[in-house]
């Protein structure tokens, strides 16, 4: 179905229910639907035709959400752009997607002007005040009558073209269809019917799949959505308390910043029942600290997914985060905290080796998945991850235990091969992170004439932590097979990360001549 119905259907049932909060702006379903319908008219006035592309470049806001649903209503493809992308990346994304119109926030207008004629756009519109000939969307909206029609779309039509974060290469345009979002949202939440379903706080960017599915699911189900333009720990805590937030999603670096924020201890988080995390590998120390520090009423959820699969594939639920029971049970639960959980009902997971043979529990290989919400494909390039019978190679390494819990062991591309032995960086990082003086670390392979590659660790120490490379190497001696022990250890101040907290190993490798 056309995803604009995620707004229009609830709006016809509970029009006066407040659904969206951003800063001091609060919108009911009816007001949101009205803004969407006006924006649909604006798109048509700008000359956009069904299946053409409208791009958005801004931090999160209620207008950003409306700009997506209006695109759906008009049958357009929506291109949410990473606002931290460099000039060349923006030019690449906008031009390869053949976007016709760009909606840009005030802080990005200088950048857009600088790129100027390089961008093959028909028109730029300001999300904010605009600039010169760039009109503010508010002005266009106030002059537009609401469009009452809904474009006929095919389920397979691309609703969102989402470029992945691209930690290793140029961003890839993932084509997600109306069907993908409808399948994800309707399978996982009930439609809004006036039932109190709580309050969700969204702080991850809307150009990311977790931000997109957050607004789609929460608006569909009637869980009031509190939108943060960008994450900031103090403001997050303040909003969580003042808006009585029940549900939230953070990436691991955000979780750590919340725990380190001085006002954390004095914030009332008694309404928070559900705190999900994902987007990057969660360091075990951080989640253990969070379990200790947040109120016991908070249920933690680890969600693992990909843009290509329309968000979550596996989930480690609240029960698995309660470290209770006998010593053996506690030990098992602590071990499982490293897990990314079990597949969702509409997902199948298997692990295969290089030859495609399905592996037994405990054996490490590539995680492959099957679900009805796999992307249509990549825009303008081949998808070499599609396998027979609807399966898809994730490019992630992992294993499954006897009870079906899936464990992540790093990206396949990051695998280190030392003298023919495969070494997953995640395994070594887990050991290094268990040293009390280590705050963060990343392990890569560096070129070696003798071995092909050897193991190098980049280590960030805790504030006040003291440790030498020899001491850390000794620490690893009893915990890792000799060929896995880092032969080079470098202490650095901070790890290079992308906006979602994923470690940029490419940059680390770049420093080592690869």
């Amino acid at each position: 179905m056309n995803t604009v119905n995620f707004v229009t259907i609830p709006s016809s049932i509970v029009p006066e229910e407040e659904i969206l909060v951003c800063g001091n702006r609060r919108l009911t379903y009816a007001q949101l639907a009205q803004t969407v319908a006006r924006m649909c008219t604006v798109y048509k006035q700008l000359g956009l035709k069904p299946r053409e592309v409208v791009a958005a470049l801004d931090t999160n806001s209620e207008l950003y959400i409306a700009s997506y649903y209006a695109a759906a209503q008009a049958g357009l493809t929506f291109l949410p752009l990473n606002y931290r992308a460099k000039e060349a990346e923006l030019e690449y994304m906008i031009n390869t997607a053949a976007a016709k119109v760009l909606l840009a926030g005030d802080r990005y207008l200088d950048l857009v002007r600088k790129l100027g004629p390089k961008l093959k756009l028909n028109r730029v519109v300001g999300f904010g005040a605009g600039q010169g000939d760039i009109a503010p969307i508010s002005k266009l909206l106030s002059d537009a009558a609401p469009d009452e029609t809904e474009a006929e779309v095919e389920d397979e039509d691309t609703s969102i073209l989402m470029y992945t974060s691209g930690t290793t290469s140029l961003p890839k345009g993932v084509m997600l269809s109306f069907r993908d979002f409808t399948a994800y949202v309707t399978a996982n939440v009930e439609m809004a019917d006036g039932t109190d379903r709580g309050v969700a706080l969204v702080c991850v960017p809307f150009y990311h799949i977790a931000g997109t599915t957050a607004y789609m699911s929460n608006i569909w189900t009637g869980r009031k959505l509190v939108v943060m333009p960008q994450f900031e720990p103090k403001a997050w805590l303040k909003l969580a308390e003042s808006e009585q937030v029940t549900h939230a999603f953070v990436v691991p670096t955000m979780m750590k910043q919340l725990l380190d924020e001085p006002s954390f201890k004095t914030t009332d988080l008694s309404k928070l029942t559900n705190l999900a995390y994902g987007g990057a590998l969660m360091p075990i120390q951080v989640i253990r600290r969070a379990i200790e520090a947040f109120p016991k009423t908070v249920g933690f959820v680890n969600a693992y997914g990909q843009t290509e699969t329309t968000s979550s594939l596996t989930v480690l639920g609240p029960e698995d985060h309660r470290i209770e029971g006998t010593e053996a049970e506690r030990e098992l639960k602590l071990k499982r905290l490293n897990s990314i959980g079990k597949p969702l009902p509409d997902v199948e997971v298997r692990v295969r080796d290089e030859e495609g043979k399905i592996l037994k529990p405990g054996e490490v290989g590539e995680i492959i998945i099957r679900t009805p919400r796999i992307m249509k494909g990549y825009a303008g390039r081949e998808d070499d991850s599609a396998l027979a019978e609807g399966w898809r190679a994730t490019g992630d390494l992992g294993w499954v235990d006897e009870e079906g819990y899936v464990f992540f062991a790093g990206r396949k591309d990051d695998m280190i091969i030392r003298g023919g032995e495969n070494i997953a960086p995640a395994e070594i990082e887990t050991v290094l992170m268990s040293h009390p003086a280590v705050d963060e670390c990343a392990v890569i392979g560096v070129p070696s004439v003798e071995w092909g590659q050897t193991v190098k660790a980049f280590v960030v120490l805790r504030t006040g932590g003291k440790l030498t490379a020899d001491e850390l190497s000794e620490f690893c001696r009893s915990r890792l097979a000799s060929f896995k022990r880092p032969e080079h250890i470098e202490f650095i101040a901070v790890l290079p990360r992308n906006p979602l907290g994923k470690i940029l190993r490419k940059e680390l490798r770049g420093q080592n001549g690869e």
Partner: protein, 47 residues
């Protein structure tokens, strides 16, 4: 039996799914049989 607001109904024979956005007293049928309610399986996460 009436149909229920917000529920998805599925035809067990042909797989058609129907979403009810206004409830009534009627009963949904497809392929000569009553359609069955298909429940969402709530995600424990925030999305």
């Amino acid at each position: 039996m009436s149909n229920t607001l917000g529920k998805r109904y599925q035809c067990e024979k042909c797989g058609t799914e129907v979403l009810c956005n206004k409830a009534g007293t009627g009963e949904l049928q497809c392929c000569d049989a009553n359609m069955k309610i298909k429940e969402a399986k709530p995600l424990p996460s925030s999305d």
